[in-house]
């Protein structure tokens, strides 16, 4: 049997360790080049996803997804004895994928220079890992292994899921409360079957720190694939895929191909408020909104510019792209109202004044928006993506006179649009 993978791929380790235990003969495909072999027509015919690890059996059957491959290569003991044990194996496999995988990536990838470091993401990832380790600890304090009283695929898969953490960031201090997990990890690590696959592993002595230089080098080499909004991911996959081939020259430690699921989760963390990811500046929306509601514009607008924190917040101009479709003004107002409703969760960290200019059958919609962060806020949450593409967005320079004029005009519901249509109605998003 032939396993396609790049070297040191922890997902492929699951399959290779399972095969060591069961004695199934698996060869790693020689001459496999990540980003080339898996883009060939031949490979895609067998594995349309174009991802590795991927398994080709002797009788020409194909399997993708590392868990299924590892399961296929397992023996009866690894799969679990009773029906309950089989289900428990499955339970820990899912746990490794959903509880461990994304958080581990969020913590480790910046350290490896694959992703930009973000303090809040980092802290959340640590919290998620602590929770996952507490779950493991609760089981392993009373039991030698994860399922039943024997090594199963659950141990192998969760072990592989912890490898990067225990190598790069989980230092002795961090591991200390999880003594049972450490005990179990060492046991799995030191099985001869594991040792045959996982070589050169050393337990983390000190948490590695984010190195901006490493990140820049990596970015320069492989492009900003991870920074793009997720819709563009597909096209960007190639540069990301090239890294394992190059890694040997520059000794960047095992940059892994980001799994699409990991990426999506990184971009859309479990948090209720996607803005939590972005640094919190000094500008307080609640305070401003209170002043705006209670005071004259002559006071509230200077207050806005006085308090505005351009480092952490940005001002945008959004203009409806299809004014020719606008008919009755009340319908246009509903259009704005509907958008505001759908963006409800944005309210806490955003403010906008949208204006309708003109009259029935000759009108335009445009508005000035303020939100946390320097990028377009809508891609942060899938809930916010219904309307924004119907608008043309322009980021405004917070210091320029033009912006001041525009903000003043929109916040005070005055003036005309760029073609001279008079202000008709306004709506405030707050």
């Amino acid at each position: 049997m032939l396993l396609y993978t790049y070297p040191e791929n922890f997902r492929a380790f699951k399959a290779l360790i399972a095969a060591q235990f069961s004695g199934v003969n698996v060869q790693v495909a020689p001459n496999f080049v990540m980003g080339e072999t898996n883009k060939t027509e031949d490979f895609l015919k067998k594995f349309p996803l174009g991802k590795v690890p991927a398994l080709e059996t002797d009788d020409g059957k194909y399997l993708f997804e590392s868990n299924s491959i590892a399961y296929y290569l397992s023996n009866a003991q690894l799969r679990g004895g009773s029906d309950l044990e089989k289900a428990q194996v499955l339970q820990w496999l899912s746990f490794a994928d959903s509880e461990l995988g994304p958080a581990s990536a969020a913590w480790v990838f910046p350290i490896l220079g694959i992703m930009q470091f973000n303090k809040i993401t980092n802290e959340r990832a640590k919290q998620d890992i602590v929770k996952a380790l507490e779950t493991l600890q609760a089981r392993l304090v009373n039991n030698t292994f994860l399922v039943g009283e024997r090594i199963t695929l659950a141990d192998i898969v969760v072990f592989c899921g912890l490898l990067q953490l225990f190598q790069h960031v989980a230092d002795p201090e961090f591991r200390k409360p999880f003594f049972a997990v450490s005990r179990w990890f060492n046991t799995i690590l030191n099985q001869p079957q594991t040792k045959a696959v996982v070589k050169n592993f050393t337990l983390c002595e000190k948490e590695a720190a984010f190195d901006p230089k490493k990140y820049q080098e990596w970015q320069a080499k492989f492009g900003g694939a991870q920074q793009q909004p997720k819709k563009e991911k597909k096209k960007e996959e190639k540069p990301a895929a090239e890294k394992p081939a190059k890694k040997k020259e520059d000794k960047i430690e095992e940059p892994q191909e980001l799994d699409a699921a990991d990426e999506a989760l990184l971009l859309e963390p479990k948090s209720k408020d996607p803005f939590d990811l972005l640094p919190k500046g000094t500008f307080n929306f609640d305070d401003f909104k209170r002043v705006y509601s209670n005071e004259e514009e002559s006071k509230s607008i200077p207050y806005f510019f006085e308090k505005f924190d351009k480092e952490n917040y940005s001002i945008w101009f959004g203009e409806y792209k299809y004014p020719e479709e606008l008919t009755k003004t009340f319908m246009s107002c509903n259009l704005i109202g509907g958008m505001f409703q759908r963006l409800d969760k944005m309210r806490k960290q955003a403010f906008a004044s949208c204006c309708l200019f003109g009259e029935d059958n000759n009108s335009t919609i445009s508005g000035v928006w303020v939100w946390r962060g320097q990028e377009l806020a809508f891609p942060l949450s899938p809930d916010w993506q219904i309307d924004y593409e119907s608008y043309a967005w322009k980021k405004l320079d917070a210091d320029s006179e033009e912006t001041k004029k525009l903000v003043t005009q929109y916040f005070s519901w005055a003036g005309t649009d760029k073609d001279g249509r008079k202000f008709n109605q306004g709506k405030i998003f707050k």
Partner: protein
């Protein structure tokens, strides 16, 4: 468990033909015939004989080899001690030793696990659920070794399930 039973079970585990080879000396010390002329006398000596036989087949690390011998002595002197204090001190010591280990020596079953397991059986059977709880790591290890049929043989089963039935949070007693 008598030393005779314990030696028989170790021999069974190793698939070493033991039937009819065990007897007692005049002063009531256990002995084992290896051939027509040679006898090995004493519990520790017989265990060490097995241990050497295993070593011949199964080249373990020198360090592990001698550490196993140390556990034979530990089992003999402390676990099988007539003093109650020694026994409980042994449990405490094993419990803290096993916090970071799945097996007594290295990362697999060795004769040390077998011998300590058999020697502990009497003590473990007498422990109250709360005591088993306080020897958390020891209980975990014991219940694991017990689950291996080829080791357990007819050894009386120690019940750990009451711990869960009472719904105690085991981890809180560390």
């Amino acid at each position: 468990m008598t030393v005779e039973t314990e030696i028989t079970r170790v021999a069974n585990y190793l698939k070493f033909p033991i039937k009819g080879k065990l007897s007692y000396t005049e002063d009531n010390i256990i002995q084992m015939n290896i051939n027509a002329n040679e006898k090995i006398i004493g519990f520790s000596s017989i265990l060490n004989y097995f241990h050497n036989e295993v070593q011949k087949k199964d080249n373990q690390h020198v360090q592990d080899f001698y550490q196993t011998k140390q556990f034979f002595d530990f089992a003999n002197l402390f676990i099988r001690s007539t003093s109650k204090r020694d026994k409980y001190a042994a449990c405490l010591e094993l419990n803290s030793y096993l916090e970071s280990r799945s097996y007594l020596i290295g990362q697999r079953i060795s004769l040390a696990d077998l011998v300590v397991f058999y020697s502990l059986n009497d003590i473990m059977l007498q422990l109250s659920p709360l005591e088993k709880e306080s020897y958390l790591n020891l209980s975990r290890w014991y219940s694991y070794i017990q689950s291996i049929e080829t080791i357990r043989q007819n050894t009386k089963e120690v019940n750990f399930s009451t711990i869960h039935l009472l719904g105690w949070n085991t981890a809180a007693h560390v």
